[in-house]
Symmetry: C2
Subunit: 330 residues, 2 copies
């Protein structure tokens, strides 16, 4: 626990973040994680001071999900190498409790191995150490904004299916689902409509036998008829993070989805909507359905939040105060 | 929508239910599903009128979960046949949106095929037709109580992993997870601690090749070290619903878990706790964390609800009114 006087100056911090100062990013994430009222106020100021252009129009926010054991951390390391070769800076937010990334050292080691130990353009933050998923989702959106202000590619790694608190597909521009060969359950979840259809599907470990190809065709079949994504054709690929095959194609597919979003004019509105959804989710956790109804109901609230285009904590705090004002102290 | 004057008399309904009158059970479930204030009041009276002995000490409440495609509905039909042979009455609550049971006719057909079409001792109710999971979980507990008042075995079928709104393991005496052969994802979810450890594990489709046996040993390995269940050793079995092998053993394992619960004195306290958790969950959905804190916080609330031993809607409504009383009309 840092002393209050040690809390950083939010406006100076925002300035440093937009110059990709890694230690500023680290301090900002700590600040967002600090629950004390003074820290909360500074966090609100920090988010308000970040350049809006970068938060809502630049960069690429990518969700990488998939069951534990699918090789998400190796795939992340391989993607990072491709992105670095393409001159892009990378920030990683790991919220998968089963992940070796969240576990700590392992991905760091892999990245050092793959991309050179002194690479200051890859930033990793793990959110899993707090265990039992609790409270994680509350931080993912503001942390993503801080990362977007500093880096070109921001990757959020989660388990996806089965992880209750984080629905990353509602918080990222492009969601990529990593399946493992013979992942019958994922196929079934997709088929039954229980799992959100991702924007990019990749079966990892294509170097091991023929299972990957078989799983790929099952996954492809489960995507018929094409999903809700307004005309985006979900690519289904194979890759091997270990051998290094298919990674360039995966990076291309992820980029193609961003290009498509921009062409359709969906990138900025999407992020505004994620933010609005995040605010409503936080308010619902704190004040329930009754609170949301009191504020005019979900859909009214959603459109007014999207339209207002104000920093997230500012919107959240204003609504929170409106609710608290209507509560008797007794 | 039925007219108000057509709403059933709750006390008479409770009486008929405890005599296993199927049409009374059906009417009661409709009543629980009716959101009008008058219906809500009658539903509360109905639950208060059901014999407590049957709700909290008799019968067996079983959760059957597993990914879509694992063959839960065939396995249910096979289990029903075994239970009927053993002279037990059966009620089924299907809340799995992907299930052919929830879909309607299919399980009915299977059951007719397996256990004789005029079997009045098997009752099936599907909750999935309302789509998108919304609002389902709110009804599962009171509906389970109605079923317990009428039948010996009450089986709740859900998808489990990946289904956000229903955590059936928090609402049933015995949870049974049905895996399919080569269900690598389920193994990984168990291993990573993302999936709740069930009380009974069964790999279905053991008639198809050797995959079931391989999956079984993977699942067994993922259960090491033994789970939290206070000394209960989780049995891991194979079965084939199609061929009919392993079903008796599965029924035995499910029964053994109930016997164990009774011996440890856990059955009645468990159900009291499910009820308390259900009430807290409903209140949290409606009034958020703030509402729960206002009522004294989760753990205080939990112990006072368990101790009070009052009918569920009575407890819920009392707490709800306490919260509403503190809200300004503005």
């Amino acid at each position: 626990m840092q002393a209050l006087h040690a809390l950083p100056d939010p406006e100076a911090l925002a300035e440093s973040i937009s110059h990709q100062d890694r230690s500023a990013v680290a301090k900002a994430l700590n600040l967002l994680d600090d629950k004390r009222p003074e820290a909360r106020q500074r966090a609100a100021r920090l988010l308000a001071a970040l350049p809006k252009q970068r938060l809502y129009r630049s960069g690429h926010l990518i969700g990488l999900t998939g069951p534990p054991g699918a090789g998400k951390s190796s795939l992340t390391a391989a993607l990072v190498r491709v992105w670095r070769k393409r001159g892009l800076t990378v920030g990683i937010l790991a919220v998968d409790p089963s992940s070796p990334i969240s576990g700590g050292a392992l991905l760091g080691d892999r990245l050092r191995m793959l991309s050179g130990s002194s690479d200051a353009s890859v930033f990793i933050r793990s959110l899993a150490c707090r265990g039992e998923f609790g409270g994680l989702s509350a931080e993912v959106w503001p942390m993503s904004l801080v990362m977007l202000a500093a880096f070109d590619m921001v990757l959020v790694e989660t388990v996806g299916v089965g992880q209750k608190e984080i629905d990353v597909s509602k918080l990222t521009d492009t969601t990529c689902f990593v399946a493992q060969p013979a992942s019958g359950d994922s196929v079934q979840f997709l088929k039954a409509g229980i799992m959100e259809v991702p924007h990019v599907l990749v079966v990892n470990k294509s170097d091991v036998g023929n299972a990957a190809r078989k799983t790929l065709s099952e996954l492809r079949a489960s995507l018929q008829p094409p999903s809700h994504t307004e005309g985006w054709q979900v690519p289904a690929l194979t890759a091997s993070a270990t051998v290094g095959t298919g990674i360039e194609a995966l990076a291309d597919s992820i980029e193609a989805h961003r290009t498509w979003l921009v062409e359709k004019g969906l990138l900025a509105p999407g992020r505004r909507r994620f933010q609005a959804e995040w605010i409503i989710k936080r308010l619902a956790e704190e004040f329930g359905r009754f609170g949301i109804e009191t504020l005019g109901g979900r859909s009214t609230l959603l459109s007014s939040l999207v339209e207002a285009q104000r920093p997230p904590f500012e919107q959240y705090d204003a609504l929170r105060h409106r609710l608290l004002a209507r509560w008797h102290d007794d």
